[in-house]
């Protein structure tokens, strides 16, 4: 036991001496929380829009002033001719164009039907869809106002209620995602690199011949990162509660317990990577490619998993961060208890024990075996 403690102390020295890495370790979650919380929103504001109004009558003007008043659009130019629309799209700043044909009001009054054309720059399909939806909504709103004057014979008014996140804050979604991302990344990458570094510098051999159980060496490698990750987790939680107003509705203890479970899973994955790679560079690349990209893609906080083709959905099932994300969202945002997340917890426990087992199996106590 005394040996074990002195080994852990050695690992802590390693970590704390490397100031630059330490700075990145603690800086990364803070930067990510700030980035995701403030900079990255799906909401689009002040999108450039051009309008070509052939009608120039009351109705078209009213709709234009409504568009002008909305926060999402900024009218760049009123074009006299629709031929110029393409030019302004090519210049790149324009995202949407709206054309009112001649006799817009007249058609609306006489034929009870008028057309308006919306043209979007679909080189970015997501922005284009969102913006056309905004524009259509504004026009529909106006139509509703008109028909209120005339009164429809039957009307059904939907009453909307947004559960768990009534203000539709994006941070509610991002905070659990960032937690999953930071914890997996720090643990997988740092453990993998720290063990491979011993191999690279040749000090692994010294450790292995010392009178300590080799498994204890490995476990003591993981302990400092477990400790650092828990501190990271506390920082993230404090930041998101104070700065982003994301409440922790459920039990904090449960959030911590589940996080430690994810950390252990990630640490064992890091151990596995360190066992199969031999250079720090390779270990870094494998954990970046193998963890960062899949975690971003398949956790569900950036892209909805439901939309993906079935094979990709299956891939998402083997990503530990995906299960953790579901768990944290249920506890933090929905305020549910353990009974709602026990299945996901079991999956994580299964993954952790599987990874630990495999990496202990693959762990070589002799260095030249694979050389």
């Amino acid at each position: 036991m005394k040996q074990f403690i002195s080994f852990i102390r050695k690992e802590f020295y390693h970590v704390f001496r490397d100031r630059k890495t330490l700075l990145i370790l603690f800086g990364m979650p803070i930067v990510q929380i700030l980035l995701f919380g403030f900079a990255l929103t799906n909401e689009i504001q002040h999108a450039g829009i051009v309008i070509c109004d052939y009608a120039k009558d009351e109705t078209s003007r009213k709709i234009i002033s409504k568009i002008e008043a909305s926060n999402s659009f900024e009218i760049q130019k009123m074009l006299p001719d629709h031929a110029e629309i393409e030019k302004s799209f090519l210049q790149g700043n324009t995202k949407l164009a709206i054309i009112f044909p001649e006799n817009f009001s007249k058609d609306l009054g006489h034929q009870h039907k008028a057309q308006v054309q919306i043209i979007a720059d679909a080189s970015d399909p997501n922005t284009a869809t969102t913006l056309t939806n905004y524009a259509t909504n504004i026009i529909m709103d106006y139509q509703q106002e008109l028909s209120n004057e005339r009164k429809m014979p039957l009307s059904i008014v939907p009453e909307l209620r947004m559960l768990y996140n009534p203000e539709l804050k994006g941070a509610m979604n991002f905070v659990p995602g960032v937690m999953a991302l930071v914890l997996t990344l720090v643990c997988v990458l740092m453990t993998a690199v720290s063990i491979v570094r011993e191999k690279e510098t040749g000090t692994m051999e010294v450790l292995l011949v010392s009178p300590v159980n080799p498994f204890l060496i490995i476990i003591s490698k993981a302990v400092p990162y477990l400790f650092l990750s828990v501190i990271n987790l506390i920082v993230i939680l404090i930041l998101s509660v104070t700065l982003l107003d994301v409440p922790i509705k459920g039990s904090v203890v449960l959030v911590f317990a589940e996080s430690v479970l994810l950390i252990i899973t990630a640490l064992s994955l890091g151990l596995l990577i360190s066992n199969v790679t031999r250079s720090q560079q390779a270990a870094m690349l494998v954990s970046m490619m193998g963890m960062l990209v899949p975690t971003m893609l398949f956790t569900g906080f950036m892209f909805p998993i439901e939309n993906m083709p079935v094979p990709l959905q299956f891939i998402s099932y083997i990503i530990p961060a995906k299960w953790y994300y579901t768990i944290v969202k249920s506890i933090m945002i929905k305020g549910l208890g353990f009974e709602a997340v026990w299945k996901e917890t079991l999956v994580l426990i299964g993954m952790a024990s599987f990874l630990l087992l495999v990496s202990f199996k693959k762990f070589k106590t002799r260095l030249n075996e694979d050389a």
Binding site: S155, V157, L163, P304, A340
Partner: protein, 122 residues
């Protein structure tokens, strides 16, 4: 100039000898190119809807069949209790609740407003 050529030769040799790095350099971009367009799809389909119908009238049935036929929604459950539906949202089995109040059809006479609840999970 010749020195540069030799230096370049050396670097290329070093890269091509590194068997661990090479596949990563070439396979990773290809994989990402193949997977990203499939994964980065914001269009929402297959929304799992749980409908709470307190009315059980012709009109409410028609509304339900319209919704299920629209292609956007998958009917997860059709019940007459809100707690059951809420529970499904909590267990992540449904994304949306549509609650049709009692007397929906009766109140839907000309010129009266009618309410139905749509509750969505965020």
């Amino acid at each position: 100039m010749r020195t540069l050529r030799f230096l370049l030769q050396k670097e290329f040799k070093q890269i091509f000898r590194n068997k661990a790095l090479l596949p990563l350099i070439f396979v990773a971009p290809i994989l990402q190119l193949l997977i990203l367009p499939l994964a980065a799809d914001y269009e929402i389909r297959h929304v799992r809807i749980s409908i709470v119908d307190h009315d059980h009238s012709t009109i409410s049935q028609q509304l339900v069949s319209k919704i299920t036929a629209s292609g956007y929604f998958e009917l997860e459950d059709y019940s007459n209790s809100f707690p059951v539906a809420l529970n499904q949202v909590e267990q992540d089995r449904a994304d949306l609740i549509l609650e049709i109040p009692q007397g929906f059809e009766r109140n839907l006479t000309p010129y009266s407003k009618n309410r139905c609840n749509t509750i969505s999970r965020q």
